[in-house]
Amino acid sequence: MTRSTAHNEGPKSDHTPVLKLENIHKSFGGVVAVEDFSLQLKAGEIVALVGDNGAGKSTLIKIVSGVHSPTHGTISLDGETVTFADASTARSQGIEVVYQDLALADLQPVYMNLFLGREAVYGPLKLLERKKMMSETQALVDELDVRIPSAKAIIRDLSGGQRQGVAIARATHWATKLILLDEPTAALGVAETAKVEKIIASLKARNIAILIISHSLDQVFRLSDRICVLRRGVQIGVKETAKTSKNEIVSMITGVS
């Protein structure tokens, strides 16, 4: 990857995409889920991924997070080609995901979910630092205004919106580079949706790149810099949000003009 020469702003120039997908293809047996997909995301940019059910949006996110490996195509992070063996590799690169099914452990408390796979431990026996994890969790949910009874509450006892809040809090806590959000407000009421959108805006301010899947075009137009449309695995196009209209996006999604 060549770095921009015009201005040198440290290791990450504005022109190096955080994430670059080139000709990504994924098929499950005979089913082609994603066909020849290419996209670049810059730091602090929000790209919305839209398309009907089964269009391949979640599959694409799982490819970036390392859950699936693409049948072919290349993924680059900060200009370097990467292959993710599993989800933990992507995580160690500062990529966080809010999955459509949230990926929370229902019978465990909130703070253990926040630190799932990254527990704070001490000593050779790797004993848990519960107090530390609890207080950090409490501080984080307070900051993000996620209203849960306590950091010790069991996920199963929370409402759908509260769970969504926990999943988003976890992603925002650990992400340094890129967040992938798969329908993050699907289960939320109006006030909670507004709150999540505020959190997403604050992530953008932290210069984190965001790829968000949403079925709400209003939300997509409120949040995104660009909109990428998928239809049955085929990339129909990428539009700058400021230069397109809902009608145009709808006709791209449905294929009816």
Binding site: V97, A105, L107, Q108, M112, L116, K126, K152, A153
Partner: protein, 317 residues
Amino acid sequence: MTKLTSPNQWLDPKRYVVYLGFVLIFAFFAITLADDGFLTTRNLSNIVLQTAPATIMAVGFVFVLSAGEIDLSFGSITAVSALSAAVIMQEHSMLAGIAAGLGAGLAIGWFNGVMVAYLRLPSFLVTLATLGLFAGIARSMTNLRSIPVVNDTFTGIFGSGSLFGIPSLILWTLGAVIVGHVIYRESRFGAHVLATGDNANAAQVAGIKVPRIRLAVLMASGFCAGLAGLLYAGRIQAAKYTLGESDLMIVIAAVIVGGTALNGGKGSVVGALVGSLMMGMLNNGLILMGLPVSDQMIVRGLIILIAVAISLRDNTR
């Protein structure tokens, strides 16, 4: 933000079923069997000594269930381990015998674990098969003969001995429960076991090596069953293929009654200890009552059914 603990966590009666059941059964036998020697120190300590192997198997079983798997083979592992130790000790040192016993447990646990974790076969079927397989191997190892264990040091350490006046079987039980409890509740490994049983997908995408956890819990179960085998061999000063054969139902019941979820993600090592003592007490009381063996089995089966039903009510996910 106000810190409310979720209220049902502390008022939930199911958390206390095992303690309540323990007290009720104890009180019942204490009253009805007052003249039959139930309450004597000798009888009560006998109960603890007799349940030692089952309690240790239960500790391993808590880990297996919590990870969302099951191990039906631990009874056969116990027999193979005890026989391995006894056979080796006929010719070799005590340490070689101990290594053989525990090694056999670990090896069978590893075998189960590889099939479950890496070949993705259901643990129910794998361990049902190895239950039969190793029961057969235990029989053929010595042609159904029982092998005497004459090494006094061994029978002292694993059977009749004591340290500072505390019987060694009680020390082994306490040791297993404390170590098990700390690993289960306080260590990262324990947290990963719970997460795996709770939502294996979530654990996987959180970077937890789920197959490794599955392998580890089945090996832990094998190791515990192996240790239980040594305790049996130490206490009765012999090893036979029947050792551990009748523990399957008791151990599963003890663990479930002790608050471990059948589907994983939740459990208690201390609860399993109390559950196991409760089962031991039940056994002992029914014998003292003078019931014929057939009636003992019926009553025990019914009580286990009731206890398990109470523990699992509304607890299914």
